[in-house]
Symmetry: C2
Subunit: 306 residues, 2 copies
């Protein structure tokens, strides 16, 4: 059992999670970040107290944050979605609660959910890549989350791969997420269309990543080139990560993982072609099990992985 | 105290290492690999027995190997210098000895020596890059060596960076060691000279990496371009490693580290320019403390880091 909270830009979700990773009680409130930090804090306290009432034997609560934490995990250094900077969230919450508060990056929470109950269950070393608007990540080695000496480990999306035609939101050029996110797919297709490439995508003005995958599966050559490009950079990143820390398994989550085997088989082939020891050291690469519950379930199990 | 062995292509060195990382007794024999595995094995047994005689209270011996080990650390999967493939060295030695035998990659042994007594002492997470003929590495997280699910972690030299004008010995193109080793420096200079670039290096037919650094320090523009290129790729790799596992400190060893601050300051600048959080999460980057003794000292302390 555990209490997990997932703070998102629009909603704060909380739940009581049982030994099998099932959410027994769930609560949700809107994220009133426009009302300021104090308001979100007070909403969080109420939500956690309500959940604790259902599970009074709990002594900790885990909270997933869409941002960067300090190395000691006590402070939200930066959280653009909520407009927070250097907020001592652990201390502020523990003042109001009779629980120990543990904070974690939300992509790492998802990685924990997979390791505890999902696609990487039972594996002591795993890496999760979440492919959405950006690319997030989580790294578990020897059954422990790697948060880093400065709290910024698992920023897989910002590993620099090669020069790209647009800059990353972080200000750098060439980050993995500018090649391997939904944004990357869409921007690449728009660029190629503007260059005069023919494609079925021309018929829909505001196509999204799902539409690109549909077109690719239907054989549209631009959409297929975009998907193959994304898989190439992901395979390259996975091979480099394997050369460094050689995890047992990689799991692919986030919205783009909905493309399923069509995407997965391409990522596997691209990884294998770049590994130093493809015959003996190919990691497993699988699709994530959890969808929307990953944040709450992972946060509720954080104490097992730190 | 500990017994450490360093198997190299020309010599096998062994020593009794004290609590301060000092070698109290040292023995060396030639590596008679042309006589076959059985001969090297028997020489190893004699060497270890002799050292154990000096330090009979020891219960383990650590052995550094210039090759790839199996995930359980029992078998030498591949060791090109000795022409070994799938040799069950741990079992073969333990049959003849009253000691537990622990095997480790030699670059990882050097990383342990630095973490136990050298430049990264007292840090729980560190990455070592050894710049020599190739590029080797060692990764320590939470005070434990990361050897990987398939035994091939810390192959930092084979992370693919970009297309390069020659292939790596491993068969891939673009490996870090084709940009950031002594070999890489020399080949790049020869290539540019063949293209007609003017340089003082033209006067010495068989220049080595030391000569290139000397010329760079004296202001030779080709040599300087070669050193800057090497530093650029190293900084890039260090930034990517930091984005993934965010170690506290990197240490630079191997022959090229003899170039000292001239090389180090360039690597630091190139790293900083590629980090996602350069202001708050710049790792320390230092020069390794050990030279020739790193293998023996690290192997003798292996049991503390596994």
């Amino acid at each position: 059992m555990g209490i997990g909270i997932d703070i998102g830009g629009t909603a704060i979700k909380g739940g009581i999670v049982d030994h099998n990773g099932v959410i027994l009680e769930e609560r949700m409130v809107n994220t009133q970040n426009q009302m300021g930090y104090a308001q979100v804090l007070s909403d969080l306290v109420l939500l956690i107290k309500e959940l604790h009432h259902f599970s009074p034997e709990e002594t900790t609560v885990g909270i997933g944050i869409p941002g960067i934490l300090s190395a000691d995990g006590a402070t939200v250094v930066s959280c653009p979605n909520l407009n927070w900077k250097n907020r001592p969230l652990k201390k502020d919450l523990e003042k109001e609660l009779s629980l120990e508060v543990l904070l974690v990056n939300d992509a790492t929470a998802a990685c924990i959910a997979e390791a505890a109950f999902g696609s990487t269950r039972g594996r002591s070393s795993s890496v999760m890549l979440t492919l959405g608007t950006g690319v997030g990540g989580g790294v578990i080695i020897n059954d422990r989350v790697i948060s880093g000496a400065h709290g910024v480990a698992s920023e897989v999306g910002h590993m620099i791969m090669a020069e790209n035609f647009y800059n990353c939101n972080c200000g750098k050029n060439g980050c993995l997420e500018t090649f391997a996110s939904a944004t990357a797919l869409i921007r690449y297709c728009h660029k190629r269309l503007a260059e005069g490439v023919e494609s079925d995508l021309k018929t829909s003005e505001n196509f999204d990543a799902r539409r690109i995958f549909e077109a690719a599966k239907a054989g549209d050559s631009l959409a297929l080139a975009a998907v193959n490009r994304l898989a190439r950079y992901l395979g390259w990143a996975i091979a480099n990560i394997s050369d460094l820390i050689d995890p047992e398994i990689f799991t692919i989550g986030g919205g783009l993982s909905g493309a399923g085997e069509f995407l997965l088989e391409r990522i596997k082939a691209e990884t294998k072609s770049r590994l130093t020891y493809p015959a003996s050291a190919m990691p497993e690469i699988v699709l994530a099990s959890f969808r929307n519950d990953a944040g709450v379930v992972g946060a509720a199990n954080l104490s097992r992985f730190i």
